[in-house]
Amino acid sequence: MVDKALKDMTFEDFCRSVFNTKDTFHKPEVLKGIRAISTTQYILGPASAAYLAELGAEVIKVELPKRGEPMRHTTPFNEPFLYPLSRWMPEKGTGLGFFGANPNELFLSLDFHKPEAIQIMKRLAAKSDVACENYRAGTFDRWGIGYRQFKDLNPRMVYQWMGGFGGWGPGRNRASYDILGQAQGGCFSITGWPKEYGGMPSKQTIWIMDYWGGAISAFNILACLYWRDNVSGEGQFLEYSQVHGAQRHLTDFISLYGKTGIVAQRWGNWEPLLCVHGILKCGKSSFPNSKNPQEQEVGFCFVSAYKDEDFKKLCGVVGNAELAKKYPTHADRVGSDAQQAIYPALEKFAADKTKEEVWKAFTGAGLVSQPVWNSNEAANQEHWHLRGSMQWLDDPTFGDVQTQGVAYRLSETPGRIKHVFKPVGADNEFVLSKLCGYGGSEIADLEKKEII
């Protein structure tokens, strides 16, 4: 239901109005009243809870005292750090590897090896709706804080366990990381240039099995909360195996193998299903005089012209009408021989141009095209900042940081980023007094005994 003013606007204005990021904090939060405990490390587990935190859940992140989580000590090239790590170690920074996986959360420090810590976890569990953990399978069960123990304390709890290979099966004891999941799952085998072009199996630029794994777990948690609150009133145990994520992504390649025995291979920057639908190398750099060596590199530009009329237009732009005559239909173009002939011919056009010039030429002819932007060019786009997927945040602890925002837009109950993360144990007093019934002197005592 939309009021008159909104009904009369143009569509673009309507979208800008209902998705306006300035109104975000005036609107309610989806998961108000939901509490989640995140006893997680690295990226897979924390990301899952983080997506709930964006939607307004109260997420309590639990880390080891003083040192915190291992991801705090990773940062690209050892160069950028945000300070402080904690009030105990202000001179040591938190690396940016930790960034993006823990927004909006409350930070509790707890040493699980001490019995009082187990007590605290149980008190938290009794009041929480969701628990996320990615320790080795069976560890929390042994310590008395796994699903089997929690479900008696709190039958409404949705307990999500995440890990590399799962808690059962021949590979259950294997430790796993994101790129191990990518490697064992087959993702490397289809990304990159083929050997003939000097390429090799390549990793995706992001810790995708971790972050995406967290996302799909968050979806499952939301669906289970929906089921709990609208149908059954019951919580349950959920498992997620990171390496399984790779099979889910590559499901069509798996079907192909099952039917034909074909093992899919790398196809570089082109596309097996469509032609022309690939990334062309342009000969010139867009910023040849930049001080940053990244910017001095030559540009690349994507173009998509797989429909016959579009391909003809493309051939016109690059000045090679012969090509259109030789490959008039898509069936002519899409074969592997044809693709290997067509793309080098197209790159001849781009060999003396910057990616912006190529982009302009293609879009001028009405073709779909996009230059390959590096992180700086992408971050400078007003588009993402306007929409809220990237934002500058005046973080209470760190100051002015540029951060990713929520991935999706909701017009009535948008997600939001309140702070990027906090030091280890920043919210100890708050969480312990609010949820566990500890008084000031008891908390000081816990700190002295290094339990928190």
């Binding site: 690209p76 090239f77 050892n78 160069e79 950028p80 750090f81 945000l82 300070y83 402080p84 904690s86 009030r87 202000p90 001179e91 040591k92 920074g93 001080k291 940053n292 060596p293 990244q294 500058w392 005046d394 973080d395 209470p396 602890t397 760190f398 100051g399 002015d400 940081v401 540029q402 906090k422 030091p423 144990g425 920043a426």
Partner: protein
């Protein structure tokens, strides 16, 4: 006792000056050509097939085809001069490889990117951001 690095493939010990030239597996996994030693500039003809050497390096004449990805002496003295080893990727105009103190963000506002002492904090927040 002869150094074990005399026989290694990807770590090329220069027959002349014993500098260890690290031939990174990205660039050199399959390689045939001339490498310039980062320690003494001597040129060596060398061939690697699937990371394994075909023969010991043979003296050769300039110009070289490639420089090693990194080099150091046997007692770990590093050589990272760009005229001696390949430049690695950099995120900014200089490459430091150690924490870079930052006080202002890209757009000029204060950000907590430098080490602090306990005296700079109010609770767990830097003084400049606490009320």
């Amino acid at each position: 006792m002869s150094s074990p690095f005399r026989e290694t493939s990807l770590i090329l010990e220069c027959p002349k000056c014993e500098t260890l030239n690290y031939l990174d597996p990205f660039t050199f996994w399959n390689f045939k050509g001339k490498i310039k030693c980062a320690g003494c500039d001597a040129i060596w003809a060398y061939e690697l097939v699937n990371g394994t050497r075909k023969a010991a390096p043979a003296a050769a004449t300039a110009p070289h085809d490639k420089m090693p990805g990194y080099a150091q002496s046997k007692d770990w003295k590093t050589i990272t001069d760009f005229s001696k080893v390949n430049k690695g990727p950099q995120a900014r105009e200089d490459f430091q490889g150690k924490p870079i103190p930052i006080t202002k963000s890209k757009r000029g506002n204060p950000v907590s990117g430098t080490p602090l002492t306990a005296a700079d904090l109010v609770g767990s927040r830097p003084k400049q951001f606490a009320k």
